[in-house]
Symmetry: C2
Subunit: 207 residues, 2 copies
DNA sequence: TCACCTATGTGTATCATATCACAAAGTTGA
DNA sequence: TCAACTTTGTGATATGATACACATAGGTGA
């Protein structure tokens, strides 16, 4: 794995957008694309796109553009995005179950290996093993770094437990507040906050 | 409503974080807070918090801090966030139904007034009226600006239709690509992309 | 009431990000 | 093969965001 020397944070946040677009284009049979075209597609300035790509090496050809397949495989190699990230899910309520049955994981980021819940016996039939939340230590998959958090009780305690067991990134569906050390990344997913952002932005647009 | 003269984009994106934290504090009976404390709570520099608040007026008192209740009501007044935003939901599949049954809307942002689907008769029993997607024109609630998009077919066509009928903000749960005019705001909500961000960030942290 | 003390609000500096502008590389077509 | 043309990759620059530093306001306690 090559050293990806300080890629700007803002760039890092755009990579998933590019990747999604490129996969879409690839599935439409497009094998070659220019920054200008991609720009129109994802609504990001072409010069920003070129700069973003440049952090991963010299990927394009002058007067030609970029090769879609190559670009996608570079993303995987350089950014360490395999298709085999081992993910755990914590909290198998309605939302948790919906996420377990969601079929877009494989060959995109990896898979949910197992889930943990306070009442695993209540979860019912799902395709993924569900263990008691106290078993996080024993049942944590080898090399697992990312957890999806859907619990509603004992949140801080659960988070501490996850971190002790090697989790460094959390997708947070919780509505509780919790704190983590500086080296742990948390990404909130929250429809209500998203709607608020929309309200604020649309209100402040008309001055 | 006062003119909120060019609040930075970055600030606008932090307001929902503050609001969520303040509501939480309020429900814990806390009536007064200082930027330093809030800083520790939300992990944003206190000086950034003070600057962010300053765009909304002179809200604090020197040597004292901020009044939690006042802060929350200022957010509502200045940013036009009532508790009565009329939201529609388009696409009443599994996800759409889950969102309709989600109980955190009221008195936070507003409510889902109605839903639209290609097969409204198939949706089954829900607490919110479901109309055929062709009725968007007739059934669009008065003053509705925000739509939650959960469809998987005819995405671009549906989006165009929404915009024609006054929608200016879209919460996008779709996995399809679509384009919108510059004045329309789209906020993607996508677990897979969120996980990718986590993978990229955690990989590039250890240099 | 008065003096001290604390936390805000903001001018200014620093840092990060986006955009401009163009040289260099490589493709395409004659 | 060669010249014209296109698009990349990147220094330089402009814009935007964050952090610093401190004057000022106003609360607090004697």
């Amino acid at each position: 794995m090559s050293t990806n020397r300080n890629v700007p944070k803002a760039t890092l946040q755009r990579y998933p957008i590019y990747l999604k677009a490129l996969r879409k284009l690839q599935s439409n049979g497009i094998t070659r694309i220019m920054s200008k075209e991609l720009s129109e597609y994802v609504d990001i300035e072409s010069t920003t796109i070129r700069r973003d790509f440049s952090f991963l090496g010299t990927l394009g050809k002058q007067g030609y553009g970029y090769d879609v397949d190559k670009l996608i495989s570079i993303f995987n190699e350089e950014l360490g995005l395999g298709f085999d990230e081992k993910i755990i899910l914590v909290g198998a309520g309605n939302l948790g179950k919906a996420l377990m049955n969601y079929n877009r994981w494989n060959h995109v980021v990896g898979e949910i290996v197992c889930a943990f819940d306070l009442f695993p016996e209540k979860v019912g039939k799902v395709a993924i093993p569900v263990y008691h939340i106290d078993e996080i230590g024993e049942k944590m998959p080898e090399g697992c770094r990312i957890a999806i958090l859907c619990v509603s009780q004992n949140v801080q305690e659960t988070v501490n437990h996850l971190i002790e067991n090697g989790i460094v990134g959390i997708v947070d569906f919780t509505h509780e507040h919790f704190q983590v050390p500086k080296n742990i990344r948390v990404k909130p997913v929250d429809v209500v906050s998203t709607i608020q952002e929309l309200v604020f932005e649309t209100n402040s647009m008309n001055k």
